[in-house]
Amino acid sequence: MKILVPVKRVVDYNVKVRVKPDQTGVDLANVKMSMNPFCEIAVEEAIRMKEKGLAEEIVVVSIGPAGAQETIRTALAMGADRGIHVTTDAIVEPLAVAKILAKIAGEESPELIILGKQAIDDDANATGQMLGALLGWPQGTFASKVEKDGDTLKVTREIDGGLQTVSFGLPAIVTTDLRLNEPRYASLPNIMKAKRKPIDAKAPEDYGVDLTPRLEVLKVAEPPKRQGGVKVETVAELVSKLKNEAGVL
């Protein structure tokens, strides 16, 4: 089985982003960038499947600026086999990402594509499902457990209210939730080894996909700030304030 893992380079999750004063976007200058945490989980899951002998090859793809190559290297250092970097400085919406990935899936014929459930920058939670629809493949999203049984995949999904388990044949799409696994750190020897693993350099034009955004960003604003409140000294004071001042008890 070949597994394709799309990975996105995003602002590191520890960074508190700031909106630009001109409200055109958030300030990304000199901000730490990392692999989207859900994508790390996707890479880890693919590697575990390979280690169990369920997969032979793991191909990681990233669509993004020059820096995305570093993200691909990180995945290679974790244990993926090779990379495809579709280089663009444009902001690529999930629909266009899904279209490029669908073309790559056509060329690579993976049996499984594992994506993150959500990129923590756009918070769209859309690409995997869109890709599933474009390819006409079934999906197991928000996965907290993935089991392969012959030609079928059984996926336990985190849903509102609990857990749901679904099963389907391959090829298929899986998107990862937080509790699927804990991604490994790349060891130094593996980081060195990853430097020699191949990364194919591509351009969006190679796939004939129109990247023009469908959503025009009119404004990016800061959310209304919460007024820092007061500290109360005792529980009795707290309850009294909630009842008499805030009126919520």
Partner: protein, 313 residues
């Protein structure tokens, strides 16, 4: 203009989140139709028909729809999508699962998790864990949208729409339902509760959540948690509040032993009143809390429960 709203429900009753989506649809203008896709869900359709401002309800039933399978929902919605200018669903784990499929097939960009309708083509949605609010204008022919239920009023009753049955087409891609494990609770649903009390890593273990549950039962509140508490196995996954869990906006949110990471704040900072109980006075949660109590939770929470009794709870 006509808008299709896809109902959120459990095959028995209409989930309140649907009413929030109807309100968002109203702000866009035009006729509103509701699709109830399920199994044995006639009572849901009847309930939907009474929602104020709804002109028509369609009921489609099949086994796969009863389990909210994304592929089945995709095929069904596409089969009736023609003629609609907008398709809306609550941004629940069901909506998030199938709506992007619908959008991709219609060759339009999904507008996820909107918190405001500015006009029929312009919307506001949070990005970066709610640290920025993006206003976007869609140039697509059909607007496919998921709606954050907490930021819209719930449309009330007062309508008398007709209910018609539509057939459920076979899904193009197939997956099978295996099983479901739903947390059983007599407490209100996290997303709809007026009061939420959440515990974090500071709770120490799952058994200790009992002290929060006691308070919750007194107040008729729902119990939530931080990711750290869920990851540690203290409580089930569906308790998680945050950027990648549930978004809540109750009248009162009580954070107990939660530090206040941005990912957690993303899920609760629109609550009307926030209380934080934490032994670390430097904890970031205090910067969003209306009332902060620096205290050991194992002392403060039982005391809180006692004080509630004193005022008649």
């Amino acid at each position: 203009m006509a808008t299709l709203v896809i109902a959120e429900h459990d095959n028995k009753s209409l989930n309140e989140a649907t009413r929030a989506a109807v309100t968002a649809a109203k702000k866009m203008g035009g006729d509103i139709h509701i699709l109830v896709a399920g199994q044995g869900a006639k009572s849901v359709a009847d309930e939907a028909a009474k929602v104020e401002g709804v002109a028509k309800v369609m009921l489609a039933e099949s086994d796969a729809l009863g389990h909210k399978m994304a592929e089945a929902l995709e095929s069904l919605v596409l089969s009736i999508a023609e003629g609609y200018d907008a398709i809306l669903a609550p941004a629940s784990t069901v909506g998030k699962n199938f709506m992007p499929r619908v959008a991709a097939k219609l060759d339009v960009m999904l507008i996820s998790d909107i918190t405001s309708v500015e006009s029929a083509d312009t919307f506001i949605r949070p990005i970066y864990a709610g640290n920025a609010l993006m206003t976007v204008k869609s140039s697509d022919k059909v607007k496919v949208i998921t709606v954050r239920p907490t930021t819209f009023e719930k449309a009330g009753d007062g309508g008398s729409a007709s209910v018609e049955t539509v057939s459920a087409p076979d899904a193009a891609a197939k997956s099978a339902f295996v099983s479901e494990e739903l947390s059983k609770s007599d407490r209100p649903e996290l997303g709809a509760a007026k009061i939420v009390i959440s515990g974090g890593r500071g709770m120490g273990n799952g058994e200790n959540f009992a002290i929060l549950e006691k308070v919750a039962d007194k107040l008729g509140a729902a119990v939530g948690a931080s990711r750290a508490a869920v990851d540690a196995g203290f409580v089930p996954n569906d308790y998680q509040v945050g950027q990648t869990g549930k978004v809540v906006a109750p009248q009162l949110y009580i954070a107990v032993g939660i530090s206040g990471a941005i990912q957690h704040l993303a899920g609760m900072k629109d609550s009307k009143v926030i209380v934080a109980i934490n032994k670390d006075e430097e904890a970031p949660i205090f910067s969003v809390a209306d009332y902060g109590l620096v205290a050991d939770l194992f002392k403060a929470v039982p005391e809180f429960e006692e004080e509630l009794s004193k005022i008649g709870y």
